[in-house]
């Protein structure tokens, strides 16, 4: 399926989490096990597609003065619908994900793609862009969730994988472990693709009097 030359795009090179460092809140919070992470990933992809397509379709009629308000309204209503659907069809997952489904509204990836891409592009490229970013988000989220569930609980998707003799790492059950794993992932990717590393924001050398003036 290649409806647009942009999809499938460079998942690693332009990943919203590891390159743009966006959408971390939900990645850290819902990655304790794979099942809720899968549902969260699907929810984010659905909202991303909807918001990108809707914003792109409306981009020519959207008055500049209320552009952001319209974008947020579209995203927020999509998120509420997703949340209601989860409550009705997947109440268990909805309980695990708690507020993090609602917080997709404030997920920087969604608004970021709407603002930086969908506002300036046609519907089809916007759809491809949404898919690229959604899959990029899902890839990192699912990797972290799989690692945490495997090492913390010895299972994947609630199916026991590791033998009981394998020691469980309780720390994996807590949020900080997601931070460590994400840090390691970013480090690994940037060692592999050094061009992704950002320029240091501050110089280590102290400024001389002359330079300050």
């Amino acid at each position: 399926m290649r409806f647009d030359k942009r999809f499938p795009g460079p998942i690693i090179d332009d990943n919203p989490i590891t390159v743009q460092i966006l959408g971390l809140c939900s990645v850290l919070a819902v990655s304790r096990s794979l099942e809720p992470a899968l549902i969260m990933a699907a929810a984010v992809i659905a909202v991303l597609i909807y918001s990108n397509v809707a914003v792109s379709a409306l981009r020519t009629v959207m008055p500049k003065s209320i552009r952001l308000i319209i974008e947020v309204t579209l995203v927020a209503s999509a998120v509420i619908v997703v949340d209601e659907i989860l409550k009705a069809y997947a109440p268990e997952a909805s309980r695990v994900l708690t507020i993090f489904v609602g917080l997709i509204i404030t997920n920087c990836i969604v608004l970021g793609r709407a603002e930086s891409f969908a506002m300036h592009n046609r519907v089809l490229p916007s759809l491809a862009d949404a898919l690229n970013n959604g899959v990029g988000y899902a890839a990192i989220l699912l990797f972290i969730a799989a690692t945490r569930e495997l090492l913390g609980n010895g299972s994947l998707l609630n199916v026991k994988v590791l033998p009981d003799a394998f020691p469980r790492n309780d720390m994996m059950q807590y949020a900080p472990s997601a931070f460590f794993i994400l840090g390691l992932v970013v480090w690994a990717i940037r060692s592999w693709h050094p061009e992704q590393a950002e320029q240091p924001a501050h110089s280590a050398e102290p400024l001389s009097y002359q330079e300050v003036r």
Partner: protein
């Protein structure tokens, strides 16, 4: 085409608002009945979990419904401390009445409370009592099951709450809830001794969850309140006399 004129701005704003609100209201309208069913199923599951009546392993919706129907559901009048008639106790939901003041009318869900009796060969084996109270951010709802002595906890669940995800929600952790098992409420003199506390010792105290101590202590406090004189205390005394 200039889209930045005032009339155009208002028109687009109204259009988007209308479309979005229609979408949300349609979704809520069509999904609400399903959600209510799910909540009811979830509540009944919590009752059965507290009573330890669910099979181990995969639990189907059918398991929950059939086992729930086997319970002896009654409504207790907290003012008279005895069973009250005139209710369909199986579907009676005092929490919903409390949330929805308009539907409640005279019964605001504070006086009449449903309890669930588990009987074995006619005699009382367990009683499941709904409890609720303030947690750290939210109201915590749950069920406590007592043994036939009406003084020993044999199961507890907190199925609905809005505590911090990943922190306060560990009050739902099965390992922690298992530490409640066998704890007693009153001592021989009838004094309330049950507590959730740091460095718990003895048959009346449950250790709190480190890192979630406020929420954990709150669960102990709400159980104390409900099982004390202001809650089920007088009713349980009467029931104890009657069952003997």
């Amino acid at each position: 085409m200039n889209v930045d004129t005032v009339p155009r701005t208002l028109l687009v704003a109204a259009g988007v608002a209308l479309f979005c609100s229609a979408m949300v209201s349609l979704a809520v309208h069509y999904l609400r009945p399903l959600q209510v069913d799910m909540q009811l199923l979830d509540r009944n599951r919590a009752i059965l979990e507290a009573a330890e009546l669910l099979p181990t392993g995969e639990v189907t919706d059918r398991d929950i419904v059939s086992r729930y129907l086997n319970l002896d559901a009654r409504v207790v009048d907290l003012d008279t401390a005895w069973f009250a008639g005139g209710f369909d106790a199986r579907s009676y939901d005092h929490w919903r009445l409390r949330d929805d003041v308009e539907a409640a009318g005279a019964d605001d869900g504070k006086r009449y409370v449903p309890v669930y009796l588990v009987r074995k060969a006619g005699s009382l084996e367990k009683i499941v009592l709904p409890v609720d109270g303030s947690g750290m951010w939210s109201t915590i709802y749950g069920y406590v099951a007592l043994r036939e002595d009406l003084n020993t906890i044999t199961g507890v669940t907190f199925h609905r709450h809005g505590e911090t995800p990943g922190v306060g929600d560990r009050i739902q952790d099965e390992t922690w809830l298992a530490t409640w098992y066998g704890k007693r409420i009153h001592d021989e003199d009838g004094a309330m001794r049950f507590r959730v506390t740091r460095d718990a010792t003895g048959p009346y105290e449950v250790d709190l969850i480190s890192g979630a101590s406020v929420t954990a202590e709150a669960t102990g406090e709400l159980v104390r309140t409900w099982l004390g004189d202001a809650g089920y205390g007088p009713f349980l005394e009467k029931l104890d006399e009657n069952e003997r």
